[in-house]
């Protein structure tokens, strides 16, 4: 199943549509600034399953140590 379009994403807590914005994430001490759908009210960030199990997973694996 493909990811929903940005216009279809609504924050359940705030009942506001998500907007793409700069998000700071970190993993194993590395910080990233990426653009992801987020709630303009509470800051909730939406990560699609496709991204989480695709590119984001590859990034995690690239940073992990044995």
């Amino acid at each position: 199943m493909s990811a929903p379009a940005l216009g279809d994403l609504v924050c359940v807590a705030c009942d506001r549509p998500l907007e793409v914005g700069r998000v700071v994430g970190s993993y194993l001490g590395q910080r990233f600034e990426v653009d992801l759908p987020r709630c303009p009210g509470c800051g909730f960030v939406y990560v699609s399953e496709e991204l989480a199990s695709g590119k984001m997973l590859k990034v995690e694996q690239a940073l992990e140590d044995k």
Partner: protein
């Protein structure tokens, strides 16, 4: 004469007698700046052999947290004691991470150095036998292992791509091939077929960059063939790990040149995995000069780096016994210089090692859970040893530049690691019990690698002799 160092008291363990293979008490003892394994067989006398040269690094290597996890399935009971009950038995302290499946005992070389004592005349495991081994392995591990196809020389089989397919079809995610690379160099269509079947990684025997080294260790001039094998794998999109067997006085002088070769062949070469020579098969007691230990290889890498590589850039493995391995990962810049990926913590995924260690004490076979530490080690290996993702797979996406930059850098990341196999003189049963590299025997038992290949001074094997006999036919339903 032996004596202990005040700052490094004797550590008791167990080993085997190299003559009769009986389990006997042993100690790890500081002698000068080295740690020796010292043991006495009541019948065959005392043996003392260096296992680690450098007390300072020995202490550092042992300071980290250790993780233990009981195998989910124990196929054999504890009867005669380690290492005579392998199957795995309930005394084993780590789950399988990588499992070797020997698909043939034939080989197209006759190497003076061969842990499997393979030769030109041998037999191939039938596809039915391979299916049975894979089914049992799946049942024992839930498929949560890497599978290394080994031998003999697996590429003597024309049906190797079909075997790769059968491994993947059962859900094993990562398949690597242990090979001398001769056929890969000469038969690009065969390499393409392996890639199409899903082969993830070639574990390429690579003892040096000169024919003098190959002739000494393998009895043939192989330098040009190795180059072609790497190119074929690169063209087919298969990651390559260079695997030198390091022998003092033969190729320890080429350690830097091997790393240079790896750097020059990025991104198809993903790693160099050094293996200090261990003495299997019929051979007289090796002298101390015939051995090189892991920290000595690290020291050679530090010297090679000329200031860019530090000893502290390397760490012990987190799931195997710390004295079995080292690894470090490096970014390679445009000029070919290596820089460590520093400051990454040893534990990750937010998982503490402590709960696993506790679980190992209370769990019994059949009730243990998959080890998150072993899972992490598998992910690290698969992530680093597979071919770097091509741009077509990871197309840059708007706003995700930071992710793309990390993935792009991966193609210029090289892992340098080493693993010390144990022979009848160096075997430390604490290490064997924590081994996570196992061999699936023809009768489908899982046997730690060093126990499977263990031989007495007269060449008698604890497990391989049984494996050489025809496998019993499966019972009729």
């Amino acid at each position: 004469m032996t004596c202990s160092c005040p700052g490094f008291p004797d550590e008791p363990t167990e080993s085997v007698c190299p003559v009769c293979l009986a389990t006997i008490p042993a100690v790890r003892r500081a002698i000068g700046d080295a740690v020796h394994l010292v043991k006495t067989c009541p019948t065959h006398g005392t043996f003392s052999v260096p296992v680690w040269r450098g007390l300072a690094s020995r202490v550092r290597w042992g300071a980290g947290a250790r993780t233990f996890a009981q195998p989910p399935v124990c196929a054999t009971p504890v009867s005669k004691g380690c290492p005579h009950d392998c199957g795995l038995c309930p005394d084993h302290r780590q789950q399988s991470c990588c499992v070797l499946l020997e698909v043939t005992s034939r080989c197209d070389l006759a190497c003076p150095v061969c842990f499997a004592s393979a030769g030109r005349h041998g037999r191939d495991a039938s596809l039915a036998e391979i299916d049975r081994s894979l089914d049992t392995l799946l049942e024992a591990t839930g498929g949560r292992v890497h599978v290394q196809l080994s031998g003999g020389e697996p590429t003597v089989r024309d049906d190797l791509p079909e075997i790769v397919r059968r491994v993947h079809a059962r859900g094993f995610e990562f398949v690597q091939l242990n090979t001398n690379g001769i056929r890969l160099a000469r038969d690009p269509a065969y390499v393409e077929a392996l890639a199409a079947a899903g082969l993830d990684c070639v574990f390429l025997q690579f003892d040096g960059v000169t024919d003098a080294v190959h002739r000494a260790l393998r009895g043939a001039r192989l330098a040009a063939l190795k180059e072609h094998a790497v190119a074929s794998c690169g063209n087919a999109g298969i990651g390559v790990v260079l695997v030198p067997t390091v022998v003092p006085g033969v190729n320890d002088g080429e350690i830097g040149a091997i790393v240079d070769f790896a750097v020059a062949h990025l991104p198809e070469v993903r790693a160099v995995h050094f293996q200090p020579i261990a003495y299997f098969g019929r051979c007289p007691e090796p002298s101390a000069d015939a051995r090189i230990t892991l920290p000595e290889i690290v020291e050679r890498l530090v010297a090679y780096g000329a200031g860019t590589i530090r000893f502290d850039d390397f760490r012990p493995g987190s799931v195997e016994n710390p004295y079995c391995s080292f690894s470090g990962r490096f970014r390679v810049d445009a000029s070919g210089r290596l820089r460590a990926e520093r400051d990454a913590p040893a534990a990750c995924c937010g998982v503490s090692v402590e709960p696993v260690a506790k679980a190992a004490k209370s769990a019994c076979c059949g009730s243990s859970t998959p080890s998150p530490d072993v899972a992490r080690a598998r992910r690290y290996v698969a992530g680093q040893w597979r071919a770097a993702p091509s741009p077509s797979v990871d197309t840059p996406a708007a706003g995700l530049d930071a992710f793309d930059a990390i993935l792009a850098a991966r193609s210029h990341t090289l892992s340098l690691s080493g693993m010390a196999f144990q022979d009848a003189w160096t075997l430390d049963l604490d290490r064997v019990r924590q081994c996570h590299i196992h061999v699936v025997a023809p009768d489908t038992r899982l046997v730690p690698f060093c126990a499977f290949n263990l031989t007495a001074i007269d060449g008698r094997s604890l497990y391989r002799d049984q494996a050489a006999a025809p496998a019993p036919a499966p019972a009729e339903a």
